[in-house]
Assembly symmetry: D2
Homo-oligomer: 414 residues x 4
């Protein structure tokens, strides 16, 4: 049967653990539900272990494999490199790919240090001049409820924003016997809860408010300082690793990061990221209070957005529990009828949609590396403040760059 599909966009992906599975699904599915200007093809998957990468490629639907990411970048039949490997590898791969003229999608956090993130951003800006684009995978922006939140803020439904409270609470490290994986090794992951999940709420808070954090006062804590060594650090890295091995190793990252913040438009904020909040499974929560309205979101109830409208009739005011599954909500019209909720992976599919749409238009997808660098600088300021008696620590910024990006996104999600 003749296929009238669009021009292909040939993907090469590095890494095939949790994030690799989520990205693969998105690359396979986006054009099945959305009309895309380019059709993603799962061309090649790279990983160090030949057997494992072949098995993963077969399972996830990739047409070929490489055991060295450099080989991936050298291939002519690859248009975009998707980086799903640990944070310590991001900078090298991304910069090489961009210099080789490949678009890049890089998982968050952008890098393990601000310095790396700066180099990456420079490379991205250089590449952009030649029509080669880089994007960082803050996929939660593409959760319909958060995209709707952003749209409502942009539409002025909250009035002037005063307060932000953001929490990302998980509990998979609450158990002292949970094994030491790459995510607990500072050399590989850069930081702990802070970079893994704190980065998400920093990005989400800035995305939804359209404002940047200008300073922080922080405290980091590690509750469990030694853990059993076990599991395959690079191959899986997932939350489900179980180590029966009794050898113990040092945890070199934080279990919890808490900080206060100020935003450039005036609001104050409270942030908490922890992987030891027993009972909270994936409580990525954001609450924004303005003079006209307030919003509240919890990823554990990801299909809902709570909205308090101070302009509702007297006596009828109360948080609206909006089920974000109506055709008029961002991204939702392409899925199921009203009331049929989406799941975790849909954010990645929407990310593919937005990325592919921007690439086809020759425009910068968001969040750009510059946007992600700004998040990285907040992470850096948090670490600096925590190391300096919680002293107030300004966040460096180049606002013009990032704000452009925000504006673009606001239009996209209409």
């Amino acid at each position: 049967m003749p296929q009238a599909e669009t021009t292909p966009l040939r993907i090469g992906m590095v890494g095939y653990a949790f994030m690799g599975a989520a990205h693969s699904h998105a690359w396979r599915s986006a054009h099945r539900f959305f009309d895309l200007p380019l059709t993603p093809e799962l061309t090649a998957l790279a990983g160090r272990n030949a057997t494992a990468v072949e098995e993963a490629a077969r399972k996830m639907g990739w047409s070929s494999t490489e055991t060295d990411w450099r080989a991936l970048i050298e291939r002519d039949d690859i248009d975009l490199i998707d980086i799903c490997s640990p944070g310590n590898t991001h900078a090298e791969i991304a910069i090489a790919a961009l210099r080789a003229g490949k678009h890049v999608l890089c998982e968050k956090p952008l890098a393990n240090t601000v310095a790396e993130a700066e180099e990456m951003t420079e490379a991205a800006q250089e590449a952009a001049r030649n029509g080669v684009f880089a994007m960082c995978g803050y996929s939660y922006r593409r959760t319909p409820a958060l995209a709707l939140a952003k749209r409502m803020v942009d539409d002025g439904r909250l009035g002037k924003i005063r307060q932000v409270r953001a929490q990302y609470l998980q509990d998979w490290l609450s158990d002292e016997n949970a094994p030491l994986t790459w995510r607990l090794d500072r050399n590989l992951s850069g930081s702990g809860a802070l970079g893994d999940i704190g980065a998400h709420i920093i990005d989400a808070a800035q995305f939804v408010t359209g404002q940047q954090i200008t300073g922080v006062s922080a405290l980091l804590e590690t509750f469990t300082r030694r853990r059993p060594v076990g599991g395959d650090f690079v191959g899986l890295g997932g939350h489900g690793d179980t180590g029966a091995d009794q050898e113990m190793g040092d945890v070199t990252v934080d279990d919890a990061a808490i900080f206060t913040a100020r935003f450039d438009g005036g609001p104050i904020g409270v942030f908490e990221a922890t992987r030891a909040a027993l009972g909270r499974k994936n409580a990525m929560r954001l609450e924004v209070n303005g003079t006209l309205g307030s919003l509240a979101f919890d990823f554990e109830d990801m299909n809902f957005l709570q909205f308090y409208d101070a302009t509702d009739r007297s006596g009828e005011q109360g948080f609206h529990r909006i089920m974000v599954t109506e055709p008029e909500h961002p991204y939702v019209g392409n899925w199921w009828p009203t009331g049929h909720g989406l799941g975790y992976e849909h954010g990645f599919t929407h990310q593919v949609v937005d990325l592919v749409t921007a690439l086809a238009a020759g425009s910068q997808p968001t969040p750009s590396f510059a946007d992600a660098l700004q998040v990285q600088r907040v992470l850096g300021a948090v670490e600096d403040s925590a190391a300096a008696d919680s002293r107030w620590t300004p966040v460096e910024s180049e606002p013009s760059m990032a704000r452009t990006a925000f504006t673009t996104t606001a239009e996209e999600i209409r």
Copy 2:
């Protein structure tokens, strides 16, 4: 790259609207997340309009098309017929397919009348003797929270069950201007809310309790008796149809069905299905009270199951809000880490997993046509009671047949 995939299972599907999209996604995705003994192939899609079916096939990933379902059944390269067309077509297609030696997956409700459902069940039992199997698509059974509920009942965690309350509340027909689609035409759909969504709560209540409804007293109501004609009755049939045409037509089905019931193991039940409950988008709710525990579920919060355990310590009793995303929960281990919720379509993927697993083992998948016939008989008794002053109306049953099916399922979901 050499593919070490399993034997293919070649699918031919009839219909490509809402259900067709959900089934296509499931056929495409199941083997990407689960290890299947057979690999589904989207071989052919059938629909009456050549242009539309080709466009749908391209979009959904089907390799070829047919404009007559009979041609589909005649093809040698098809192993299974998946019926996603309106209820009035089920019996003819399913019986022909089974007689041609094709396995059948048929959307629910099984048929528009008990008589049709009986014929289909007979054909299914005949085919089963030759190793050809039929299954009905009550996909909500595969929602992890409801599969967990069933497992907990089977494990005795509720003690003796006393009461069931089940509601399926939607609001897409609350608006009097919503158009007249095939779902509002008794000749095509058999009934209204009763068969469309009431069937789901009947099946779910019987599935979770492991008991059958033995009698009902019912009331049916149609709030809006005439609606604007519009939309393509067969092609789309979705909830989102909007008709600008001012021509009006008669609604020949119920907007709401309410009934009381008794189950064969002793419990009493209250059921309500409505598509006019303003504000409820997809509130498929089931609550079961036993002597030792109670369960509560709402599909709008589909990743949660509420469980009250009377054996909890005194003073600490209260409904547990179980986030059904742990590896030990049914189906969940193959998806994302704990706390990363699933969406509506995952139930269809799990349905494919269970169906393919049963077919490879040469065993009867559940729910069988016999199970679905039993639901059909409850639907019939509801209509009979409503037509006879709500008089108590027994449900015919052949319990041995269906109970076997329940037992099989109970094991499957471990």
Copy 3:
């Protein structure tokens, strides 16, 4: 210190168990928070056991006691008789009191049979001609959230009402060892869950919608047919009784009552009252769907009313979780600042406020005995239908009488 209090309203109360305690608190407290035209005085308490009634009077603040309710009625220093004794005593006491020129407040349900309720209503109408008034204690009407619900319906915020679902779920009889109290003896209590708590949801549904139930189809069930004898049937009768005595007695009332209904303005309804729904402590739930809005209430969250407004902006629709603690909400302005919730007993205080206000104005307080008789007739129809194979059973009615009452109330709660 000179007291500038208002004219006293001297109360004589019969019974001092659970309801007696709640009423005493209300009589003591109402004028402390509300400006009342008459000041209630706790003049005399009646009970059969002299020691127990004196102890109760001292504890609850009553100035004197009687061991025969007839003596109470004969006293000149009593203006109003408050009947808190079991249902089998209501008719005799109320009729005698009214004939003696005493106002009457009678706990619900009004009586144990329709015939008694009719006699009482006749006596009340006779007395009313002489300015002596009777009221029935359906106190849930005075929960601010339900009074707000009624006001919103009256204001047209729901449009045309189509569906009602009402549940009253408790679990104190789930345990088979809970003792046999007067509430389980048909001769004393009239019925089980039906009259005890089913009466509340019937009244609440009719009050909020402003409509009357015209017919029902019902099913009653008793799960535990024999229970240990124990406790003082009349004195305490509360939920907390524990019987260590092994003597067993017959339960002669229902554990659960479920029924479908039609209202005179068109809506259909589903009702369920049960004292065996494990885990539900006092879930008196009411949900009303109209063409413009929907309301949902659960007494376990009594300070909240959920409201779905179909006229909210597109994309922002969702149930408003109204915390009914604003000064503009019914009754609330006399209590605490916004956000400081009320408890169960406040409904009784509000009942005193409305009753005293009506008496001072020489007008009929609501719900009148006629209103309560109408509820009794629904209870009677439910029992009749359940005894006749769930056959549809019309509810007798004299609508003009009761509808007047509803209108009065609607104004009161502004």
Copy 4:
């Protein structure tokens, strides 16, 4: 009728606004529901305006009035002074009363400065040697759900505590036109959200965990710096004041206080107090994560405590929504049957119960002034840190004193 009541405890109260009304209700009601060793008598009420205080006394049930608190203290017929006037008056009145041999109940926060609180504590400790006791009114400790939380922590149900997150969110100052009352004047109230409601979450967090805060890093913010002058600063002071007057005045206190903290047993904490969180009416929230369990509470749902038990069966874990209305829950047995919720004012009644019980036993009621001083020191440290670039600021402490108090309370609430 002869009254067999217990020895009277004669109360003199200063102030009759919001807190005065709540305290009056508690003094009137406690012995009606609880068996008290002393019977409170509402002997005298003091206020500066003779007419207003007489009207208040009549309304609230006080037998006499004074226009100078000093006169109250001089009266022989007063056993206890209850201080409900603004914070700037606490120290002088409390110290004078204690020196005059009167027991003291003082509203929170104890004082406007640490220095005042220290003087008060000294006076209290001096008085205690003579059997005269002082207590501070952190009444939220007596909310059954929080008392249960404390008991569960003491019983080890949470294991080792790691994290605390506490928020007190209100919105009555979100509106820029809300008037300038005494609560917005630093000279009268000491601070804003910090002392008004932040004090509550500090006390609650320390009470429930049984641990003290040892240091903080803080940020204070005032969103609205000028407000219309209006209302009677001293007389009402409530949230409901509305000022039509256009004269504007300076707000000299914080609208929001946010801080991170460490506790002496190891946990870290995040705190937020704000009166500008639009849509949150009285969201006093506390969440505690331990190694074995977690607790969550929100005062807007005050009758519930959420408890996650890591020792629940695998697959059945989830927050238990405990409705804290069972007889085995703290304070609850004296009220209504299970499921009949309490309201805001019940905490004050329980406070009277505990206070009277301790006084009759000649033992120190809790929280003592020493306990309240410790909270004051945390408030002081928060202000110091906020004034010093959020620098980490230790909290002075004399732990032995306060810890004794905690232990006493733990036993009381069994």
